[in-house]
């Protein structure tokens, strides 16, 4: 019961927020706005799901924003300049991302380095690589891209499900299954609880760590593909700072940064809350975009304070509980 509290709180906040918004603006609760909420935040949602895996395992991945930037530039160059078919380019870039993530995971595991600094180096490396490829914004004019952008699933009630939204929902669903119903998912939680205990239980800590960072980078690659679909271009400066939005979404969604707790669904709602704030501000038209930052910061504070309070209550109830979280 206690485990589900943060996710429940987040969902309630989202529901209340949405209700308030639709009371203020009559057009807010329309199929169009709801679907745009999904489409506009698709790339963030995908990356935040990967971040959730990393954070639950007790790590952090600062490189995802740069990987998105790299992916968009690589795709634009491969499709436009090298004439690669888009689907082949997708496969190639995802393989590159997987290799990149695996290398970071291996560095963290086998050289016993802090994830924060390794992925910081990864962030510099990926962003630098995309700068080297091109510093200009390259439009992608392949007909395949136009078709994908036009394509949308019409649902009853006037809901238009776009391709980015579809990809995000699929990623969320698949990763929720992967995290909550497979052995790999259980290992991720175990790693976040205690690395040494996990190793003593016979979990292959090394393999799991490498896989987690590989997954995170691959999801960042998918997110980059979605981002390039969304903007029909590749730009080395795209998605700067997205890693922080992703961490924020995971934390708002009830994932503990100390590892071991969290749900994919919570992260999904966390992304939607950030999107809701943006949508509210664009509906208002008077407020400037920096209010979004302040509001997100305040929300972060409230949720973390709530988590902290619950940890405290839990510890009071079990005074002789382990020293986890003492630091």
């Amino acid at each position: 019961m206690n485990r589900f509290m943060p996710v429940l709180a987040t969902t309630v906040v989202f529901g209340v927020g949405f209700a308030i918004c639709s009371l203020i603006y009559p057009n807010f609760a329309s199929p169009r706005v709801v679907m745009n909420l999904l489409t506009d935040n698709a790339f963030l949602g995908i990356v935040a799901v990967g971040m959730t895996f990393v954070i639950i395992s007790g790590g952090i991945d600062l490189s995802v924003g740069s990987v998105i930037g790299f992916t968009t530039v690589f795709l634009a160059l491969a499709i436009e300049r090298a004439g690669m078919p888009p689907l082949t380019a997708f496969v190639v870039v995802l393989l590159l991302c997987a290799l990149f993530g695996a290398l970071m995971g291996a560095a963290i595991q086998y050289f016993e380095l802090p994830a924060f600094i390794v992925t910081l180096a990864g962030m510099f490396l990926a962003r630098g690589a995309s700068f080297l490829l091109s510093t200009e914004s390259i439009p992608i004019t392949a007909p395949f891209y136009g078709e994908l952008a036009e394509h949308a699933l019409l649902l009853p009630g006037g809901f238009r499900l776009t391709v980015p939204a579809m990809i995000m929902l699929a990623v969320v669903a698949l990763c929720a299954v992967l995290l909550h119903f497979t052995r790999f998912g259980a290992n991720v939680y175990a790693l976040g609880g205690s690395r040494s205990a996990a190793a003593l239980m016979g979990i292959e800590v090394g393999r799991t760590t490498v896989l987690i960072y590989t997954l995170s980078s691959v999801l960042a690659g998918i997110s980059g593909i979605v981002f390039s679909l969304y903007t029909s271009s590749g730009y080395s400066l795209s998605a700067v700072g997205v890693e922080l939005d992703a961490i924020g979404a995971a934390v708002i969604g009830g994932t503990l940064l100390s590892g071991g707790h969290g749900f994919i669904f919570g992260t999904f709602i966390g992304v939607l809350i950030q999107g809701l704030i943006q949508t509210y501000i664009s509906f208002d038209g008077m407020l400037s975009s920096w209010w979004a930052k302040i509001a997100t910061g305040l929300l972060l504070f409230c949720f973390i304070a709530l988590q902290q309070l619950m940890l405290l209550v839990a510890r009071r109830r079990r005074p002789r509980a382990s020293g986890a979280g003492a630091r």
């Binding site: 050289f111 802090p114 600094i117 390794v118 990864g122 922080l244 920096w290 972060l300 003492a326």
Partner: protein
């Protein structure tokens, strides 16, 4: 263990950093023969070397605040945002108020930001990354609120002097950084404070049980970092005679963390060295300057930085350290 009351001897551990800086300077002067030339004009020292120190000053100031925090197993992601806030306050007050008032307001804001971080970490028990992430996200918004989203410029020459003037023949930012370094050293190493910080970083619970006031020290260290960040923000704003809330101090928190790590402070807490952290900042700046001088595209900058981070990391890796020890034992 008996300790000398005040000891300013460079730690013996500092050799790799000093050698690295000298090598980078050598490469730079190879790329550009005039690199090491110094000349005095209008009573002020000029030259590329002075530029490296001058441009490195903001990151060096940040590193001064960041080093004790990292030694306590903490981290402060908000310093860039605090720089933006302090710069915004200084720039918007500069033309209507006295310099003293402007400085007190900007530094006070930094101090408050630091206190906020410290309270979140020490009293609410939040993890440092999350606690400071809040201010990192919200702080830039606050800075934009202060400047109302515009780039605020000012004409106050007294404030501008802090960024581009000179004192005793040296650019003011260098003098300020040196003064802050000496002040921090006096406070931290002149008393037992440094030892207590390192003890808290080594094992916070054990230190608390041993009677160290870990909470007060944590809050004080974060507050100090906020103050250093505010000073860096003032210097950066004074340098361009304006404040850009969007870009002031953007990503400098990462450079500051990098400088501290290059300076040999482990992210796992424990020992730290302020002098080496400042040296780390200079190494980063010297590399940036070197890439510019070499005629490589500035895009190379990030790649070189990444490679340096990886090299430093591998040098610090416990695995490789074990290997090195093994090799050293074989060759007595």
């Amino acid at each position: 263990m008996p300790r000398k009351a005040v000891s300013f001897v460079l730690p013996r551990l500092g050799m790799p950093q000093i050698v690295a800086l000298i090598i980078i300077f050598a490469i730079n002067s190879f790329l550009s023969p005039h690199f090491l030339e110094l000349r005095v004009q209008d009573g002020r020292l000029f030259g590329s070397l002075v530029d490296v120190f001058n441009r490195g000053a903001p990151v060096a100031l940040l590193a001064l605040g960041m080093a004790p925090i990292i030694a306590m197993r903490g981290i402060d992601l908000s310093v860039g945002a605090v720089m933006a806030i302090a710069g915004a306050i200084a720039a918007s007050l500069a033309d209507s108020h006295a310099l003293g008032f402007v400085l007190v307001c900007a530094l006070g804001a930094g101090l408050m930001c630091g206190l906020w971080n410290g309270v979140l970490v020490a009293l609410l028990g939040m993890q440092p990354i999350v606690a400071t992430l809040i201010l990192m996200v919200a702080g830039r918004g606050v800075a934009q609120l202060i400047t109302e989203g515009r780039i605020v410029t000012f004409a106050n020459t007294d404030l501008a002097w802090l960024g581009s003037g000179s004192l005793l023949g040296l650019p003011t930012p260098i003098v300020l950084t040196l003064a802050m370094l000496v002040l921090t050293l006096l406070v931290v190493r002149g008393s037992a404070l440094g030892l207590l910080i390192e003890a808290t970083g080594g094992n916070s619970r054990a230190s608390a049980l041993a009677g160290v006031g870990t909470r007060v020290i944590t809050i004080a260290v974060y507050a100090w970092c906020g103050l250093c960040a505010a000073l860096a923000g003032i210097v950066a704003a004074a340098d361009i005679m304006g404040a850009d809330a969007n870009n002031a101090g953007l990503w400098l928190e990462l450079d500051a963390i990098l400088a501290v790590v290059i300076g040999g402070t482990s992210l796992l807490g424990g020992r730290f060295s302020l002098v080496l952290a400042v040296l780390g900042a200079l190494i980063i700046q010297a590399m940036n300057t070197g890439i510019l001088l070499s005629g490589f595209p500035p895009e190379m900058n990030l790649i070189v930085k990444a490679i340096v981070v990886l090299a430093v990391l591998l040098a610090q890796s416990p695995r490789l350290a074990g290997l090195g020890l093994l090799l050293r034992r074989r060759r007595p």
